[in-house]
Amino acid sequence: MIKVSETENIVHQSQVETDSHGSKFYRWFKPFSRGIGMYSWLAQRLTGLLLIMYVFIHFGIIGTMLLDTFLGFETPGLLYNSITAAMGSSLVAGMGFPEVVESMLRFSYIIDAGLIAALVYHGYNGIRVVLFDLGIGIRKQKQIFWILLILGIISYILAMYLIMIVPEIVLAGE
């Protein structure tokens, strides 16, 4: 038989265990009783972290403009220009694809596709969060999410069209 005071002790120990078990952030990804609000928050967080990584990489690449000068190259911007040229070159150049496909499949475009998706999502969902902070539409949060998602998809297609297709049309016209 276990005395009452002893059981209290044992329960107390296990409480500490389950407590620490519960404070891990993998719970964010555990699927129970979750709505669209939770998913949008999680996506906001992940896109935010991705964009932070991108900003530092971007800083590094544009920093090569300085590197040239400090390394004492004759022509400033040589390293920078070669990096941007490499990023802008087609991934499937000389592999027998049609010219349109070749010009679309550039490394920089693929990066842009992901970057702008993250950017548009983070921005539009940010607007949604700011609306809630102003006290607007808290009870209509799901509808607002879907409306902004549709707007976001439209903006994304428009942005990708302007980045990938329009320059081709302009270049073809010249």
Binding site: V55, F59, G77, V166
Partner: protein, 143 residues
């Protein structure tokens, strides 16, 4: 309302540590977020579509493409571009590093850690702004 002494210590543990700066950062995160939204739009337009504007295609600086070094140098001549890009970095850093702080503070609860971490991020932000200023003025001086 009377609490037993043991209860009182348990309850006191959950009285949050007052910090007026938390309210400040909350407001700033919203304001800077909105500004970054506008700045990003400007950044995209200037760095992707400038060549599409009438009269721009004949500019010799933009010959090698809009992202080339000569194009960047030419854009940097404009003081508006120079200062807007620095302001962009300022607000981007505020928004970005405070956002990162929010994520980290969710899992890290120690008060002293939070303080040190905040100072560290502030330092990174200041360094980034100095970096942006140095970069811009060096590019300008080369041109």
């Amino acid at each position: 309302m009377k609490l037993s002494p043991s209860q009182e210590t348990k309850v006191k543990r959950f009285i949050p540590k007052h910090s007026g700066s938390s309210a400040f950062w909350w407001v700033l995160q919203r304001v800077s977020g909105f500004l970054v939204f506008l700045f990003v739009f400007f950044h995209m337009v200037v760095n992707h579509y400038l060549t599409l504007w009438p009269g721009m295609e004949s500019r010799p600086e933009l010959e090698d493409g809009i992202a080339s070094f000569s194009a960047v140098q030419w854009k940097m001549q404009n003081p508006l571009y120079f200062w807007i890009s620095i302001l962009f970095v300022v607000f981007l850093m505020l928004h970005m590093l405070n956002g990162f702080r929010m994520v980290v503070l969710d899992v890290a609860t120690g008060h002293s850690f939070r303080k040190i971490f905040g100072i560290l991020l502030l330092l990174i932000g200041v360094l980034a702004v100095i970096y942006a200023f140095t970069l811009n003025s060096t590019i300008l001086s080369l041109g």
